[in-house]
């Protein structure tokens, strides 16, 4: 099983665990594990081009934060150089590096989230308890392309009939207003029709249900158990100060190998699963 096959609730809990650890455990080891884990997973999920674009983006965000922090924070004991009489300190720089790592890790994990959580999963999470919200999501997503198509049709219609074509700016502004009003009225009109169609199909007769369902399998249980175990280990260690970093005024990093390993494994799970599946696939193909 890979991450996108698990039950939406298990994958949601997984993402929550990783994000909470990344945001609240302030330690370089955690940030590095998190970024690397997310990038490895993205490497498996995305095309090469997309991946390298993401990688570039991450590096830029990281560097930007790292360089900006010392410009505003002048704490620390090791000045590297002075700008306008203010110190650019090593501690502040490293603190920036940490902060940047944390930020880019969160961004990357959200990228993974959007890849894994397709529309059905999202609707399942929100739709089961509040089917109305699910309906709003799906209606909005259906409405936007309709509106675009209608806009094109109206523009074409107006352009071809040539009624509003003119050199003067005021005339052109008038033309745009015309298109806008036409778009509004046609949208309202078709909304009435859509409403009728919804009513005709029983909308509002009773409580709505939700069609999509996912099975919570044995694998989900194992996955969740492992995730929660690793997560709580990392959190407990972090709470007791075994994974922490102080930057001001002096750098003091304590990262013990065991808690670090716990978190590293947690972040690497999607990648490990992905590799396992692709190996299995290759193996199966070879047999076929």
């Amino acid at each position: 099983m890979r991450l996108s096959v698990f039950h939406p609730v298990s994958s949601l809990i997984y993402f929550a665990a990783v994000l909470i650890a990344t945001m609240f455990c302030f330690s370089p080891a955690i940030q590095i594990c998190s970024v690397v884990g997310a990038l490895l997973e993205l490497f498996m999920l995305e095309s090469k081009r997309e991946f390298f674009r993401n990688l570039r983006f991450t590096v830029v965000v990281w560097l930007a934060v790292a360089v900006t922090n010392p410009l505003f924070s002048h704490k620390g004991v090791t000045p590297l150089f002075f700008i306008n009489g203010r110190a650019f300190t090593l501690e502040a720089l490293l603190y920036g590096v940490m902060l940047g790592g944390s930020l880019s890790a969160v961004i990357m994990w959200f990228k993974v989230f959007s890849k894994v959580f397709d529309r059905e999963r999202l609707l399942y999470i929100f739709g089961r308890k509040t089917p109305k919200l699910a309906l709003i999501i799906t209606m909005t997503r259906g409405f936007v392309p309709k509106l675009k198509a209608q806009y094109r049709r109206i523009c074409d219609g107006r352009k071809c009939s040539g009624t509003y074509m003119s050199e003067s700016r005021i005339e052109r502004l008038k033309a745009s207003c015309g298109i806008f009003t036409a778009l509004c009225s046609s949208t309202l009109e078709s909304a009435v029709q859509t409403g009728m169609s919804m009513k005709a199909r029983g909308f509002g007769t009773g409580k709505r249900s939700f069609a999509h369902s996912f099975k919570f399998r044995f694998g989900d249980g194992v996955f969740l158990f492992v995730c929660i175990l690793l997560f709580s280990a990392a959190m407990i260690y972090s709470g007791t100060g075994k994974l922490r970093a102080d930057f001001y005024p002096r750098i003091a990093v304590s990262s013990e190998p065991l808690p670090m390993l716990c978190f590293a494994v947690l972040c690497a799970i999607p990648f490990i699963l992905e590799v396992k599946e692709s190996l299995k696939w290759k193996f199966c193909l070879a047999k076929i």
Binding site: T138, G142, A149, D156, S161, T163, T181, T194, F210
Partner: protein
């Protein structure tokens, strides 16, 4: 078993003087297909909407409706939604969701059915319709015909036993319309579904329906089997409601054939073959629009839509551009008036290069285009206000009289039916006094009578020296009213001829009249031309 009956049903819209329905009485048995005929505004839509309580318009209703053996009011909301399915004209307006899968589940979700049952029933129905390939697609990427199939399927998923369809194929091309009607027949044959369908184009459904219900001015004037209906229409001057095969023999023979097969048999039995070819004129007159070697594509990496189109239209003629859906006919039309750019090729209009018309001067008293969606041309509160944009009161009056739209002038554009808005859009175009008119699917949503009126107006315009070019799916219309036809295929014009020769030459892509007389008469392509020959033979026999 009786599934539906109306007793003396009358209906008046709020604020209207005339009743929309005036004493309709009829009953429908379970498992029948009923074809609902009538001119635009005869009350077909009103009747269908009254039968579906959720869609009933506001107004004053008299008389009684019985559904499934009880009065309509006794059906619960849930039963009403479940058992009566309704499909409307515009495929876009009916869809609610973003994905086909969500759309199909919508009805059952609204009724609160459990997840497992929803998926099972959707799976079953998708299999029956054969639309598995569409299941995961976004609705916005489907064609009109596919959308309409999804709409029908989503209604059927809820377990409809009575299906009401209000001109479901009016916005579809003929091939998609045929597919849609085919599925309807299968639903009727294999599931015993009762169907009531209002349709403009009788050709595909007239012979295969069980009974025809004809409405006029809100009254049910005729209700009976298709063969009787054909006789009724033929004897009451309503030939426009007849399928082409029956039109040929209307007034010539007593029993009317309803499809091409029957028409062929009847010809062979009672008439002599005649392969003399009528004279044809070769086109003359100055060339108004000329395009050479046009190449166009929308995006850099997409395939070409136009691949070297050559076309020319002469002054005062009417050229029909035919071809299958999505072939690029509309793109060509847009390219010809400069709304879409070509990356290669040359277009000349009235002897001047297209690019020399700047800032819309092409459209000032020169060229006009009627777009596929005529509603797009209207942005004002009323039709008259829109027309006043570029014309005086007197001009509007004259054009309105000509197109028979005086009554519609004060109405809001969106309150008009598909056929009516076409006429209003056409009026708007005529007011700009164009010398060349390009029309995109101008007969869509029109009934036979409106089509005939439009055809006659096109004829008059030609007489005034206006040049016409239309993109259409409507082969019967092209055969009757256009001088030349061109077939657009694979990004090129592959054949071009006088209408008569064009349709006589084709075997399948041709009119019902031409198919009925293939190998019997040389070049009769409209019912009128066949009738002429038949009447001539009759005359000769009598002497």
């Amino acid at each position: 078993m009786e599934i539906l009956s109306c007793e003396d049903l009358s209906f008046k819209y709020n604020g209207e003087e005339k009743p929309a329905l005036d004493g309709c009485s009829f009953s429908v048995n379970s498992g029948e297909i009923i074809l609902l005929c009538g001119k635009s505004g005869s009350g077909k839509s009103t009747l269908l909407k009254l039968l579906k309580r959720e869609l009933s318009p506001a107004g004053e209703k008299k008389g009684r409706i019985f559904l499934f053996g009880g009065e309509q009011d006794r059906l619960s909301d849930r039963e009403g939604a479940e058992m009566i399915g309704f499909v409307m004209q515009n495929p876009d307006d009916q869809t609610v969701c973003d994905k086909v899968s969500a759309e199909l589940c919508f009805g059952l979700e609204s009724l609160g059915v459990s997840s497992g049952e929803i998926l099972a029933r959707v799976g079953e129905m998708v299999g029956f319709f054969g639309i598995e390939p569409l299941y995961d697609r976004d609705i916005s990427t489907l064609s009109g015909g596919q959308k309409q199939l999804v709409n029908l399927c989503s209604v059927m998923v809820s377990g409809a036993r009575l299906l009401l369809l209000d001109e479901p194929t009016a916005q579809l091309d003929p091939v998609a319309a045929k597919d849609f009607l085919h599925i309807l027949h299968r639903l009727n044959d294999e599931l015993g579904l009762t169907v009531i369908i209002a349709e403009h184009n009788p050709d595909d459904i007239f012979s295969s329906c069980d009974r025809v219900l004809y409405m006029e001015k809100g009254r049910t004037e005729f209700f009976g089997e298709p063969s009787k209906a054909a006789e009724y229409f033929s004897s009451h001057g309503l030939a426009e409601f007849l399928p082409a095969a029956a039109k040929i023999f209307s007034g010539i023979s007593d029993s009317l054939p309803l499809d091409v097969r029957a028409a062929k048999l009847k010809l062979e039995k009672g008439f002599k073959p005649d392969m003399t070819v009528s004279d044809s004129e070769s086109p003359s007159g100055e060339i108004v629009l000329k395009a050479e070697n046009l190449w166009q594509r929308y995006e850099k990496n997409e395939p070409d839509i136009l691949k070297g189109v050559d076309i020319s239209v002469r002054k005062g003629e009417c050229l029909a551009l035919l071809g299958s859906n999505g072939a690029g006919k509309s793109t060509l039309l847009k390219a010809l008036c400069g709304a879409e750019k070509c990356y290669m090729g040359k277009i000349t209009l009235f002897g001047k290069k297209l690019s020399s018309y700047k800032n819309g001067s092409l459209f000032r008293n020169n060229t006009a285009v009627l777009p596929q969606d005529p509603y797009a041309m209207f942005a004002k509160e009323s039709v008259a206000e829109e027309l006043r944009e570029n014309a005086s009161e007197e001009q509007i009056k004259a054009v309105a009289g000509r197109l028979d739209i005086e009554e519609l002038l004060e109405r809001h554009p969106y309150d008009l039916s598909g056929g009516e808005i076409q006429n209003c859009a056409f009026a708007k175009i005529l007011l700009s006094k164009p010398k060349l008119i390009l029309l995109d699917e101008c007969t869509k949503g029109m009934d036979g009578f409106r089509r005939k009126e439009l055809g006659e107006i096109l004829g008059e315009l030609k007489g005034e020296g206006v040049t016409l070019m239309l993109v259409t799916h409507d082969l019967e219309f092209a055969a009757k009213y256009c001088d030349r036809c061109a077939l657009f295929f694979d990004g090129k014009i592959v054949s071009e001829d006088n209408s008569r020769q064009f349709f006589a030459k084709n075997n399948f892509y041709t009119t019902a009249a031409a198919r009925s007389t293939k190998g019997f008469f040389a070049d009769t392509v409209t019912p009128e031309q066949v009738r002429e020959k038949l009447l001539a033979q009759r005359g000769a026999d009598d002497e």
